[in-house]
Amino acid sequence: MAKIIVVTSGKGGVGKTTSAAAISTGLALRGKKTVVIDFDVGLRNLDLIMGCERRVVYDLVNVIQGEAGLNQALIRDKRVENLHILPASQTRDKDALTQEGVAEILEKLKEEFDFIICDSPAGIERGAQLAMYFADEAIVVTNPEVSSVRDSDRILGLLASKTRRAEQGGDPIKEHLLVTRYNPERVTTGDMLTLEDIREILSVHLLGLIPESEAVLRASNQGVPVTHDASSDAGQAYSDTVSRLLGEEIPLRFHEVQRKSLLSRMFGGNRR
């Protein structure tokens, strides 16, 4: 049975698209048939992060409006088998999405895939609500920052009231918290909220913690999801996150200040 997972946050720039790309890549690397859908119509980004921007012909809106078939719009990932991308339109706006259209596409994708990852736009308007409406699970991406936590709280409220599962009174959406851009040093100095603070306010199951890392920016600009960079801390953290999403028990890493060993200090083990 295919699972629909929305990656959402409320606030922009916290790492939704990065996380959607990294998690879907991670799932595909474990052999799960995965499709990742960009719901950010008008601000198409996912294809850049996934490095397939030059192969976009048709998009989500084309499919909804019947101008292209679903298979024509799906882009096969070059690096991993089992991974497909459904890009957003850059020229339309979010009003071009309809609930019926999205429902139809998701139904079709469910027949073929194990995981459907919906990359939500920022905000709480139509685009974001459509991205979450049909979800079975939600990954709420939060930065250790007051405004981000507040917005995540708002999104969690919407997940519990404005989704199909909430409206039809079935099992509620399974909510996960993914803390990104976590910098233990700055937490220690009081510049950032601590993981405990965030968990206490949001009271949601913690799926993973991604440390602030140079690898993320590098990966974005190269169009290679950071999960592929297995030597980086962020790559490993996303890999742990995917394992937990698949039900494995993995201890939390990267949440404490790392003492640099004498050797790494001498040889400048700076790669993060």
Partner: protein, 251 residues
């Protein structure tokens, strides 16, 4: 320099001020229709109608001519004081001025928030009751008491319009809990809590951890800024005593 010299014997100074103001958004221009609704409201929350100044918003009305004088009379009969009109056509503006009322330009759409939600069942209510259908009937001491289990999140509003509200969980920043009676929060209170919304000054607010943005009993409120910082983070109770809000630790 001359400004300073004159400051002793000036009759007044102009100052900009932001005052809380109730906007009465009219969706009907019929004074009798308005009268009927006001009569209903008056019995529901008498404390609200004490010469409360209101701005009559006519933006939603599509009529060039309004019986503004009669509408104002109806409001005054119910102890509401119209002080200005917002929106409307040129004739409406002229008649507002003729009646000695101010006139404001219409606001952009989507800015104003409806106060009606106070009395209506909030959007979160069906979720809470549908996920735990039996909780209220089993645990609630009486029908008017409302029990909410879980976190009240930013943007959500939970209200008990006839009795007490009990929240087993936290009320987060940006959330609002309201009750005709008292509010009990078994968790951190970070949002807004308004007890005694129909004017019951005996109502109280009780919480395990006080971090509230705003607390109010029967319309008498304190903001986070006004609260003694020593009480923040403590288990506290809030009552309206001797015409002011008293916050003290729960011991």
């Amino acid at each position: 320099m001359s400004l300073n010299a004159d400051s002793a014997n000036v009759a007044f100074t102009f100052k900009g001020g932001m005052l809380p103001m109730t906007v009465m958004e009219l969706s009907s221009a019929d004074p009798e229709h308005i009268r009927r609704q006001l009569a209903g409201k008056l019995s529901q929350s008498p404390a609200f109608f004490q010469h409360t100044p209101v701005v009559l918003s006519v933006e939603k009305l599509d009529e060039p001519h309004l019986a503004l004088e009669r509408i104002c009379a109806v409001c005054r009969d119910h102890k509401l004081l119209p002080v200005a009109v917002r929106g409307g056509s040129e004739p409406v503006r002229q008649s507002a001025w003729a009646l000695g009322l101010g006139w404001f330009a219409p606001v952009e759409e989507g800015r104003a928030r409806s106060l009606e939600s106070v009395s209506r069942t909030p959007e979160v209510a069906p979720v809470a009751s549908s996920t735990q259908p039996d909780v209220e009937s089993l645990e609630a001491p009486n029908a008017a008491t409302r029990l909410f289990r879980g976190t009240v999140r930013s943007g959500q509003q939970v209200s008990a319009s006839d009795g007490d509200l009990i929240v087993i969980g936290a009320v987060n920043a940006g959330a609002e809990v309201l009750a005709a009676g008292s509010i009990h929060v078994y968790g951190a209170l970070r949002g807004r809590a308004l007890a005694g919304i129909h004017g019951n000054t005996q109502a109280g607010i009780y919480c395990r951890e006080l971090e509230a943005e705003l607390i109010s009993v029967a319309g008498n409120y304190k903001r986070l800024e006004d609260i003694d910082s020593q009480l923040l983070g403590c288990a506290t109770e809030v009552h309206f005593i001797k015409e002011q809000l008293e916050i003290k630790p729960l011991s």
